[in-house]
């Protein structure tokens, strides 16, 4: 039995729904904040994820970071060495999708060449009539960046856990892989 710990950096433009997703995940879908309350720094959300078919788990330390430009620099100071990355945009905002490459660059600058598993999340999939980013386009960009793509709606409780579960599993797979390498050295 092992309990891994992962530093999960949660980023994306302001009001795309990062805090909504983190809170839905934390509360098992019990808590959706309808009114926008801007994150002004980093809010830490901690939750453990069980790895299926094992007695192992990954404790995610989610660094829910402010999307608003003025706070970004202060947030970056708290990121440390990221373990995994969750990059969010709003499917009803083309601009928030275009910002993703900048966010990715920012986080990668803290990764010191380490392999950091990441997901791209298109949130607010409930706003279908206002959709500006097609699934296929987001999917293709994610793939080119080595990210796994997920669509979610925090509002409709759609798929909100999936990005975090997939990150936990990817980190767990990395651990197994490294363990194997170390065993061959000794």
């Amino acid at each position: 039995m092992v309990k891994l710990r992962a530093r999960c950096i949660l980023v994306g433009d302001a009001s795309v729904g990062k805090s909504a997703l983190a809170q839905m995940f934390r509360s098992d879908g019990a808590h959706f904040q309808k009114n926008y309350s801007m994150t002004a720094g980093v809010e830490l959300v901690v939750k453990s994820v069980n790895i299926p078919e094992s007695s192992d788990s990954v404790e995610l330390f989610i660094f829910d970071s402010a999307g608003k430009e003025t706070f970004v620099e202060a947030c970056e100071k708290l990121w440390g060495q990221p373990s995994v990355l969750c990059l969010v945009f709003d499917v009803s905002s083309e601009a928030s999708f275009r910002s993703c490459s900048l966010w990715l660059e920012r986080v990668r600058a803290h990764c010191q060449g380490l392999q950091v598993p990441g997901v791209l999340v298109g949130n607010k999939s409930d706003l279908s009539s206002r959709r500006e980013v097609e699934t296929a386009v987001a999917q293709e960009w994610a793939q080119n960046q080595g990210l796994e793509y997920h669509e979610t709606s925090a509002k409709e409780m759609e798929n909100c856990d999936a990005p975090f579960l997939s990150l936990a599993q990817a980190f767990y797979a990395l651990y197994q892989d490294r363990l194997q390498t170390i065993q061959t050295l000794a």
Binding site: V2, G80, L114, F171, R178
Partner: protein, 137 residues
């Protein structure tokens, strides 16, 4: 001169911040580089060794993998308080074989040593052996 960092000579690991029960921190002081303790994510990571008696240290050698920055602190008290920094070092990255680093700590007397790994070349780092040449006081 003896290797004082051995469980057989009464040394114990009194704290380790990570734990996979298949790779316990006791593996650090079993005298064998084939067995190891592995960190399980995030930095810093640390472990503390306690000696059976105050130990006058000469040379310390540590075998590890993917450790980047290591800080060693000592305490001369009996209850693992009042740690002072002894040494700090950035290890070189190795691939395919273990890192082996020596610390010359001539004249230091300690009851406890605390090893703080502040960063790594990977998410997970392993420590295979700590060996200490010294004399019990």
């Amino acid at each position: 001169m003896i290797d004082a960092a051995l469980s057989s000579s009464g040394t114990r690991v009194v704290l380790a911040t990570s734990g996979d029960e298949n790779y316990p921190p006791e593996n650090i002081i079993d005298g064998n580089t084939e067995t190891f303790w592995i960190s399980t994510g995030m930095f810093p990571q640390e472990f503390i060794l306690r000696f059976s008696d105050p130990l006058k240290i000469k040379l310390l050698t540590i075998h590890s993998y993917n450790v980047k920055n290591l800080k060693i602190e000592k305490s001369a008290s009996s209850d693992a308080t009042d740690f002072d920094t002894l040494s700090e070092k950035e290890f070189e990255h190795t691939e395919g074989h273990l890192q082996a680093n020596d610390f010359s700590l001539t004249g230091t007397t300690a009851t406890h040593l605390r090893f703080i790994i502040t960063s790594g070349y990977d998410h997970f780092v392993s420590v295979h052996r700590v060996a200490i040449e010294g004399v019990y006081q």
